[in-house]
């Protein structure tokens, strides 16, 4: 699952697209107004629903369209990542990066590498809700 903020991250993704840079299959993109909009519960829900990895892309600190959304997200996501890693989640499953609108190829590289990292780890078995027992 890839979360893109509506501003820098989406523009970077579109730039990558217009430059015909490929990104891997198996990626679901969710556009949010700002990385600061993301509720940690959304990310937990993604893990519960079987997401093998979660990537969040936002604007560089200082460049947020809403002035401070990414700065709040930085704290929030740091705490979430620290907590999930403390209980044994592999660090590569939750990643976040800052990109500017002009960093199309950097975006593609980051995305590519992150997906590779997650593929190497294999499917997320720890948090996923067992579909057979769902009720």
């Amino acid at each position: 699952m890839v979360f893109l903020c509506n501003w820098c991250a989406t523009l970077a993704a579109e730039l990558a697209g217009s430059n015909r840079l490929a990104y891997p299959a198996g990626v679901r993109v969710v556009k949010v107004p700002c990385a600061g909009r993301i509720n940690p519960l959304h990310l937990l829900r993604a893990l519960q629903n079987g997401a093998d990895g979660i990537l969040v892309f936002g604007c560089h600190p200082g460049d947020c369209h809403y002035a401070k959304g990414n700065l709040l997200a930085r704290r929030r996501l740091s705490v979430l990542k620290g907590l999930l890693e403390a209980v044994g989640m592999e660090p590569a499953r939750l990643q976040f990066s800052w990109v500017t609108a002009s960093e199309g190829s950097r975006f593609a590289t980051l995305l590519d590498r992150a997906v590779q990292d997650v593929r190497t780890l294999g499917p997320n078995r720890k948090f996923v809700k067992n579909p057979a027992a769902a009720g």
């Binding site: 209980v87 044994g88 976040f96 809700k129």
Partner: protein, 333 residues
């Protein structure tokens, strides 16, 4: 008269004074419990009830949990809001919780009188029972620093309080309650050097071992929500775990849902949990919640130099940011 009884008497006199001066119309403190090793929270509405108050090594509850409810506004805007003038007997952890609640506007500051107690730490009931090796039928804190108990089998034991301390007390960042309105005199615990020592075992484990420990502990969860109900900083009218729209998580005791609830609650406690261990004490199935709350608290302290309730005029953790906040979790290109 023992020093502990000194502090207890001073507390009772102070409370009588506060009522007499009309600084308070309601006092929340501790009174004798019906079982050995326990006290319970009491609510006093006049000076002549003050002699019910006790102060000993078994005053483990966190009375700050009652604040959101006591100061709740009436449902109808036409009804007049009459908040109590509350006096609250507080250990260091309780005082931190009160300050967190005041920061979150759960009570007007001028309506709360924090009565700081000389706290030398509280006895962990589990440790007493383990060291006694039998059911405890009588427990008294006698001379300073000692707990004397009698067991069902007829044995008598005397333990040093320092050997019985709760994890919350060992990890306490304060030598005594701070930022209080009234301080009851007496000797407090001075040793704050053992903070987070108990976490070392967990941190030394590999990721897989930590996962297995987490999974094992949480598999006991029956979703009774005792942890949430007893927590002073959990006061949402509708908890995320009870919401239907959006349906964050199922309500059953399946492992995935249980983990979602606990990780979600921990995230909501980030920068707010005062590590009083009320959740761990309340859990009917004995989940080691305190290990996870400590890990969270330690990370928050390390990453942001923030200890909830320690410095009341600081901005709340997740409502603020610094330009030089850590980037150690950000993936660079």
């Amino acid at each position: 008269m023992t020093k502990m009884q000194d502090a207890q008497n001073r507390l009772r006199e102070t409370v009588k004074d506060l009522f007499a001066q009309q600084k308070v119309d309601l006092v929340v403190g501790f009174e004798a419990g019906s079982l050995p090793l326990r006290t319970r929270v009491c609510f006093l509405t006049s000076a002549d009830e003050a002699d019910r108050l006790v102060w000993n090594a078994f005053c483990t509850n966190n009375p700050a949990v009652y604040i959101p409810r006591l100061f709740q506004r009436p449902a109808s805007p036409r009804e007049e809001y009459k908040p109590p003038k509350l006096g609250i007997v507080a250990k260091a952890c309780d005082a931190r919780a009160v300050h967190k609640l005041l920061e979150e506007h759960q009570a007007p500051r001028e309506n709360v009188t924090i009565i700081g107690m000389p706290c030398r730490g509280m006895a962990c009931r589990d440790k007493v029972v383990i060291q006694a090796g039998d059911e405890v039928v009588e427990a008294v804190e006698s001379t300073e620093g000692a707990v004397e108990i009698k067991t069902r089998g007829g044995a008598s034991h005397r333990f040093e309080l320092q050997d019985l301390l709760q994890q919350a007390c060992l990890d306490c960042p304060q030598a005594a309650p701070e930022h209080v309105d009234v301080q009851i005199e007496g000797a407090s615990r001075r040793d704050t050097t053992r903070r987070y020592e108990g976490l070392k075992n967990f941190e030394a484990m590999s990721a897989d071992q930590r996962w297995e420990y987490f999974r094992h502990e949480l598999s006991k969860c029956i979703r009774c929500y005792a942890c949430r109900q007893v927590c002073p900083t959990c006061y949402c009218k509708t908890c995320f775990a009870d919401m239907a729209k959006p349906r964050w998580t199922g309500a059953g005791d399946g492992l995935s849902d249980v983990m979602f609830y606990h990780i979600g609650r921990l995230m909501h406690q980030a920068g707010r949990c005062v590590e009083c261990d009320a959740c761990t004490r309340a859990c009917p199935v004995g989940i080691d919640l305190k290990t996870f709350t400590r890990k969270l608290g330690k990370d928050v302290e390390r990453l942001f130099d923030y200890v909830p309730g320690l410095r009341p005029d600081e901005a709340p953790l997740l409502c603020a940011f610094e330009d030089d906040d850590t980037e150690e979790f950000v993936t660079d290109g």
